[in-house]
Assembly symmetry: C2
Homo-oligomer: 294 residues x 2
């Protein structure tokens, strides 16, 4: 399995690297400014896997969406992701000093900067999506991003996560699936469907792909928390296990969690069948998600 994934992951690795370069270049063009606020915003975006931005670019490519529009949307989702990490790392939240192997924003600057850089990253995401070059479906994209990231999406997932830490009974599988769907699934789904939305096309196959991918991604994250190497992962590991938090691994066991991730990966790939071989890179992304070591 690992060998097969490796053999096929070369084109994906190249596609991901290309997406990272293009999104980073677009960020530098769109997010200039020499003041510390702009510097902290760029710092927060830089160095991530940019998997969400990659999904936007791939789904845009599948639907023939203009490069300018695709890059704008890809940068927007990376801004949202970066803002959530910067705020999540704050001492009053997860209190993390390290992110992607680098000091977190509040360690490199201070907490006030982390609050404000996170705030303006969120704002900038919506500014990007309101750009005329996004085209006639911009409002659908904006509405979707707000619903996926706000009080009924990512932020509510973070609230559920915080509540779980002090709950007397650990979460069961249904609850943790719901939590993770809100915390990460919604935004992965937004990313993978963004191209279809911008093109005004049917987004159902990509939504099925993303639903399976998002859950596989989270299970893989829980596996990494148990098996990962902090140096490669770029952040503290075994935090959940040490805190006695319910995770997919604690609920299913390590082997069953790996099986579940693999089944979800296969479901994600099957969902892409309407696109034929054009979606090969997205299939490889799904294989990567469950085999990654960081």
């Amino acid at each position: 399995m690992a060998a097969a994934a490796d053999a096929q992951s070369r084109p994906f690795a190249q596609a991901l690297k290309e997406a990272q370069s293009r999104i980073t270049a677009h960020m530098e063009a769109r997010l200039g400014g020499n003041d510390p606020l702009h510097a902290a915003m760029r710092y927060a975006i830089t160095g991530g896997k940019m998997l969400r931005g990659f999904l936007v670019l791939e789904s845009a490519r599948l639907h023939g969406v203009d490069d300018d529009a695709a890059l704008e949307a890809a940068l927007a989702i990376e801004c949202i992701h970066a803002y959530s990490l910067v705020h999540d790392d704050l001492p009053c939240m997860d209190d993390d000093d390290l992110r992607r192997g680098q000091p977190t924003v509040h360690k490199k600057w201070d907490e006030a900067m982390a609050v404000l850089a996170g705030d303006s990253l969120q704002t900038f995401a919506f500014e990007l999506l309101a750009d005329p070059k996004i085209g006639p479906h911009a409002l659908v994209l904006i509405r979707g991003l707000a619903q996926s990231s706000g009080k009924d999406g990512m932020v509510s997932g973070q609230m559920l996560d915080i509540a779980a830490e002090t709950a007397t009974t650990p979460l069961d599988l249904d609850q943790i699936t719901r939590l993770q769907n809100r915390k990460t699934g919604c935004l992965i789904s937004w990313s993978a469907t963004a191209g279809a939305v911008m093109a005004g096309a049917d987004e159902a196959p990509l939504r099925r792909y993303a639903d399976a991918l998002g859950l596989a991604f989270q299970i893989a994250d829980d596996i990494l928390d148990v098996e990962g190497d902090a140096a490669k992962v770029g952040k503290a590991v075994r935090k959940d296990a040490d805190a006695g938090k319910a995770t997919f691994v604690s609920l299913l066991g390590l082997d069953a969690a790996k099986d579940r991730a693999r089944t979800l990966m296969e479901q994600a790939c099957d969902a892409l069948s309407p696109y034929g071989s054009a979606a090969e890179t997205l299939k490889e992304a799904a294989r990567f998600v469950i085999s990654r070591d960081s």
Copy 2:
């Protein structure tokens, strides 16, 4: 002067109170949910003057904009204002325990809740503006709100404000005017022009009105910080004076600051002449801004 303002302020006081009731009712309809996150979001919006939302409703009324659209935009700006206050009150920022005479969100709940409620209030503002009922100019409104509140607007003003606290030389009048324009002026301007934007009408007169009003508002705030009664103002006063911060009052002196606020109020009223008597309530709002005691 005060007597004249009082004599004319009855209709304004009624209009403001009516705006507060309508925006609050709209909030309750749009922001249901019994979980603590929704409760904290509603708490953060409730009890404010809602001057920005009032400006949206008035400028919408002047341009015959549909009530549903106007309320959506009025609630959106109150969400942005509330988010900025919740984050601004955090211990790592201004560290305030009291807001509108009530415990701040991080005192009533905790800091994590204040971060997340602020985050999702910002998201919700953009969700509201992406609603189809806003009409064909929604993207202009969204772009304007992002530009007015983000890295080149309100948040950059907060950064300048923080930098000023540790600067070796106090700010001069030009610098403080620029800071305040970013910190509060931009969003007051967005609010007062929102109706014209939604109607696709010329926004120049309302922008001139708002530019003068925003500056008058800030000068009045500095005067309140010196002369105000904490019980009426609902938050700590004399903070700036005690911290030795440059303010319009410290730079101009109290009497000249009052003169300047009065001149700006007159300029704001003059800018509304194209609207004739239909803009009387907005003129009264300008008179209120410089005579308010809270």
